[in-house]
């Protein structure tokens, strides 16, 4: 609990222009940001880029911080939105290589690492549309509750549950395809 209090204090101080507070805050959360970025994008390279996007934008984003939400919730939202924008940008540019979506990357990665679990994750995430991936990444990867995830994503809790049932459905289809293959 103390930790969270400290987060929001730091954030307030940083928002007011306290350099040390900003530095402490961003160092503390860097790995968390990175991990979420990875879960949202699915490749190391994309994760690093997205992390950069987020960190570069944080100073300005933070200047609007009023401490209304839990800091991590706010941070997750920043990350998810950044991922969303990045994806959209890539979509505009017709970029197929968007992380989980890139079969070839996944395949090569699998060959490189030879790890079945990773291959499975790639394939499974690839079977999900972007917003379902976001939802799963927050719920499973970051261990958020449905309520928290709903707050981060700016949607209702009902939508979160609906998305999770969608995920189930799609995973079932995915498993069936896998079994056939």
């Amino acid at each position: 609990m103390r930790m969270e209090t400290a987060d929001s204090d730091l954030a307030l101080a940083a928002a007011a222009g306290d350099r040390a507070a900003f530095s402490a805050l961003i160092s503390r959360h860097y790995d968390r940001i990175h991990a979420l970025c990875w879960r949202l994008t699915g490749t190391k390279a994309e994760a690093e880029d997205l992390t950069q996007d987020v960190c570069m934008a944080l100073p300005r984003k933070l200047s609007g911080w009023r401490g209304e939400a839990k800091f991590t919730t706010w941070l997750y939202r920043v990350v998810v939105n950044a991922a969303h924008d990045r994806r959209r940008r890539q979509a505009v540019q017709a970029k197929a290589a968007s992380g989980w979506g890139d079969y070839e990357l996944a395949r090569q990665d699998e060959i490189a690492t030879g790890r079945e679990a990773e291959r499975w994750l790639y394939e499974a995430m690839r079977a999900l549309p972007g917003d379902l991936r976001d939802t799963v990444a927050l719920l499973f990867g970051e261990d958020l509750s449905q309520a928290e995830a709903a707050e981060v994503l700016g949607i209702g809790e009902g939508t979160v549950s609906w998305r999770m049932s969608e995920v189930k459905k799609r995973l079932r289809d995915f498993a069936a395809r896998e079994a056939k293959a």
Binding site: G17, W38, M56, R89, A91, V92, A124, R126, R172
Partner: protein
């Protein structure tokens, strides 16, 4: 036996466990730069230098561009652009500054890089001249190329995927070819001379397609057929055309050669070659150059910003003391980075270049306007102005309405400031947009993928690339139906003009810069040849053709710099084919190669190995090794094509 529950657990476990370690070096770098941003913001707020209005940080930034991109890539938008520029540089430069390779040129190691001094990088734009010139485009439905899928899938992404039926993930629905976009065109077909004896096109020619294809092949992938523009590939290479005599009235020489088609028995190729005059360097007008450099985050990397710096410093070596240079960055450290500075102050310019950093949020789109403003300030008697936009295409120029952008750039062009575009990086390079911008600016668009390419475009041919010796150059060939049954213009699909546009001086066409070369190839089927595709008409009008001892009549129009009325050059196309010289054979090999890559149906059994053999035997002197490198690339394509 897979229970859904199990799958969910499995996904949970995989997601929880799998996150890789963040890269430590990158972490340090990103944190440091975040601090810089923090400091910059604090400074801004303290000094109120820039009232930071609520600039949308993520959401709004790209929406304008998005809109512009999707509209610009449409065929109609491209068609609307009028001016085109040509850059077919001649190979004149001999001294190759032994530029150290900037640390990372991102070339796959597999292929040695013989093209040390690539000569011609011409660039080209694509204009759908056809539609461009006509009030109502005749061209078929504006389909989008590669990028076509983009807009719809964007929507799909933006919206919650409520449609449960969507079996495919949104990502999977994207076009597979990477994010790069190309203007679409239809391969020009065979024309029956009796029905359509006149063929008209604008000369403007870029060379971007060649570098693009090279990059793709070296990366182990067959290029997207939409990226293949045969004329740009052919024009990439220097040919040994006779230079125009110094006292000749025309600014270029014109050569026509006819020889047997390497891929079709019973057909001939007709090669039209233009060689621009190359006035001595000292005689060229003084230049005002404004580098408009994209320093947004996506430009990070040695094959982008790093290469860009190398490229621009190479260009500096070609400038004279009376030339002026200014630098504007339009992201991160936005604004004027270097005020107009004499090219003699090389150190100062290099320092400013070196200080450019990618990253940071885009600081708005005044970049383009600022660049033009600076160029305007630098204007003076006998000086020519040009804005050189260097970007990876992922940029916001600040004017999101493509019509407004087009009008804006055209107006600037008319006021004497041209715009050229240098493309960097692969992945989101927007070919169509770059071309459209450069066309409207009467400039060229070049794609730079290596230090070698940078040297070819910016050092070796800089002289020519930067000033024009002939404007609105159009070619019209009237084929003689008594001699030629069918003809086909190879390439130039996007540059076709309507017949009536030829003599209409208001219709814009490509420019030729000092020392530039332009090559065009027609494939013709003589009357009586068994290779003829169309059946002769029973009530044929072929006999109506002139009895003249010529296969066709070539007319060329151009405007001398500063003039508004075009001049005409005419020449007959020879009746007989002759033994082709190595230049002609090599051009044919490259044209064949391009047609293979684009899946042309006119080549029959002729394949990559034939292209290799033909090119191999036609390397000629190949002073810079470009042709040898081309042969390597053909071999690579052959190997990849087999997979």
């Amino acid at each position: 036996m897979t229970e859904p529950r199990d799958e969910m657990d499995r996904l949970r476990a995989a997601l929880k466990g799998a996150a890789p370690q963040a890269d430590a070096a990158r972490r340090a770098e990103i944190l440091a730069r975040a601090m810089e941003n923090f400091d910059a913001l604090a400074q801004d707020q303290a000094g109120r230098l820039r009232p930071e209005k609520d600039r949308p940080q993520w959401g709004g930034l790209f929406s304008g561009v998005k809109d512009m991109l999707s509209r610009l890539t449409s065929r109609a938008a491209l068609a609307a652009t009028t001016s085109v520029a040509v850059l077919a540089l001649g190979v004149t430069l001999v001294t190759l500054p032994q530029q150290p390779r900037p640390g990372a040129v991102a070339l796959p190691e597999a292929v040695p890089v013989p093209e040390a001094a690539a000569p011609m990088a011409a660039q080209s734009e694509i204009s759908n001249a056809d539609a461009m010139a006509l009030p109502a485009p005749i061209s078929p439905a504006p389909k989008m190329a590669n990028g076509g899928g983009a807009a719809p899938s964007m929507h799909r992404m933006a919206r919650p995927a409520a449609g449960a039926a969507a079996q495919m993930s949104d990502v999977a629905a994207l076009p597979p070819a990477g994010s790069d976009r190309f203007a679409e065109f239809e391969s020009a077909g065979v024309k029956v001379t009796a029905e359509e004896p006149v063929s008209t096109f604008s000369v403007d020619v870029d060379t971007a397609s060649w570098s693009w294809i090279r990059r793709s092949l070296r990366g182990g992938q067959m290029p997207d057929p939409a990226a293949v523009r045969v004329e740009e590939m052919v024009n990439y290479f220097p040919y040994d055309y006779a230079a125009p005599a110094a006292e000749a009235p025309e600014p270029f020489s014109l050569t026509i050669a006819r020889f047997a088609s390497p891929w079709a028995e019973g057909k001939d190729l007709v090669r039209i070659g233009l060689q621009g005059k190359l006035p001595p360097l000292a005689e060229r007008p003084a230049l005002n150059l404004v580098f408009l450099v994209d320093t947004s985050g996506s430009m990070e990397g040695e094959d982008r910003l790093g290469l860009l710096k190398t490229s621009l410093s190479l260009l500096l070596g070609q400038l004279r003391p009376e030339d002026q240079v200014a630098i504007v960055a339009y992201a991160g450290s936005a604004g004027e980075v270097l005020p107009p500075t004499s090219a003699a102050e090389r150190g100062k310019i290099l320092d400013a270049l070196g200080a450019l950093q990618a990253g940071g949020s885009t600081a708005g789109g005044e970049g383009l306007e600022l660049a033009y403003r600076l160029a305007g300030q630098m204007a003076g008697d006998g000086r020519t102005g040009r804005v050189l936009l260097a970007t990876d295409g992922d940029f916001n120029v600040g004017i999101s309405d493509p019509e407004a952008l087009k009008t804006y750039i055209s107006a600037k062009r008319d006021s004497g400031i041209a715009l050229s575009v240098l493309g960097f990086g692969r992945g989101n390079f927007d070919d169509a947009l770059m071309q459209a911008l450069a066309q409207n600016g009467n400039g060229q668009a070049a794609y730079i993928d290596s230090a070698e390419e940078a040297r070819k475009v910016l050092a070796d041919q800089a002289a020519g690339a930067l000033f024009t010796i002939a404007g609105d150059v159009k070619i019209q060939v009237e084929w003689n139906p008594a001699q030629v049954a069918e003809y086909r213009l190879i390439g130039y699909e996007t540059r076709a003009l309507a017949r009536v546009d030829f003599a209409d001086d208001k219709v814009d066409a490509g420019d030729i810069g000092a020392g530039h070369q332009v090559t065009a190839l027609y494939e013709i089927t003589p009357v009586g040849s068994a290779a003829r595709l169309s059946e002769p008409l029973r009530y044929g009008r072929e006999t109506l053709g002139g009895a003249a001892e010529e296969a066709g009549w070539l007319k060329l129009r151009y405007k001398a710099p500063g003039e508004t009325v075009s001049r005409l050059i005419e020449r007959a196309v020879p009746m007989l084919s002759a033994e082709p010289d190595p230049d002609a054979r090599f051009a044919a090999a490259v044209a064949g190669f391009g047609q293979l890559l684009s899946g042309s149906r006119f080549l029959g059994a002729w394949g990559y190995q034939d292209a290799v053999a033909l090119a191999e035997g036609a390397k000629g002197e190949d002073r810079f090794g470009y042709r040898a490198a081309a042969v390597e690339l053909m071999r690579l394509a052959e190997a990849l094509g087999k997979k």
